[in-house]
């Protein structure tokens, strides 16, 4: 280290902090809002409740969709059965009409 660097080192010695710096910092620290233990506990509880509600809602919605689908399937089956019965009845009616027509001839 040469003379110039020695001078530079001396010139760059730490300066004393302003007299009120520590007091101001400690005052700001006292005024600063601090997360309390209870507040943290309530925040965690609220987050858990919200999460549980979201999961519960999703499960409920899924069950609702599944139930709707099952009802749709049952209704479709009923319609198909009704259509089959109606078709069968129409076929019988046609057969009877055909037999009656042949008897008149």
């Amino acid at each position: 280290m040469d003379e110039f660097e020695q001078e530079l080192r001396q010139a760059m010695e730490r300066r004393p902090a302003p007299p009120g710096l520590k007091r101001k910092v400690m005052e700001r620290r006292r005024r600063a809002p601090r997360p309390q233990g209870n507040a943290l506990w309530w925040q965690r509880l609220a987050a858990t409740v919200v999460l549980a509600a979201a999961v519960g809602g999703a499960v409920e919605w899924d069950a609702h969709i599944r139930e709707e689908r099952q009802r749709g399937e049952a209704a479709r089956e009923q319609v198909l059965t009704a259509l089959r019965i109606t078709g069968h009845a129409l076929n019988q009616m046609n057969a009877k009409l055909a037999a009656h027509g042949r008897a008149q001839e």
Partner: protein, 178 residues
């Protein structure tokens, strides 16, 4: 034992307020701003206090955050070093003659005219006595960049000092001739 160390906020402020304030002042050249930065740095330390593992860790953290917040403040203000020093003299009544050494005072003035990266490297090297490796870790820059900034900053400062300090050189020569 490092694990037995418990951070004491008030003690950390006591121990490091001069360091944090000096770094901020030398980087910004503004005493009032440096005090604000120092306060902010310690408030940030308060939030991170549980994460401080050792006294050395706390000192390293304070240096890093002080440099970072000073750089942020400089970017916000966009003020050049020369103007900062003029502001330092005019607003805070700091006279060059009050310093112990005229060369030291002039060097400090000239330091504020260096590019920010070079100034940061020199401040950490000569105020904090850090090695280039420690400086690189503190300002999170590549070691090669830090070494380059140190060399260029020192060279530039020396050149500025040579051209600006003719009076000092003359006095030194006179003293040498006696």
């Amino acid at each position: 034992m490092a694990h037995d160390w418990q951070p004491d906020f008030e003690q950390l402020v006591d121990e490091h307020q001069a360091m944090v304030f000096s770094l901020a002042w030398r980087m910004t050249g503004d005493r009032g701003l440096a005090e604000e930065i120092a306060q902010d740095v310690f408030m940030e330390l308060d939030k991170h206090l549980p994460k401080m593992e050792t006294a050395e860790h706390a000192r390293f953290w304070l240096r890093r955050v002080a440099m970072s917040r000073s750089a942020d403040a400089l970017r916000r203000r966009r003020v050049r070093g020369v103007d900062l020093w003029v502001e330092m003299e005019e607003r805070h009544g700091i006279k060059l003659e009050e310093r112990s050494s005229p060369l030291g005072a002039r060097l400090e003035q000239l330091l504020t005219t260096l590019p920010e990266a070079q100034r940061a490297a020199l401040v950490l090297r000569y105020q904090e006595d850090l090695t280039p490796e420690e400086i690189a870790a503190t300002i999170q820059a590549p070691l090669a960049t830090v070494k380059s900034n140190l060399q260029r900053g020192l060279k530039l400062l020396r050149a500025k000092a040579t051209s600006h300090l003719k009076e000092y050189v003359r006095v030194k020569e006179q003293l040498g001739g006696v």
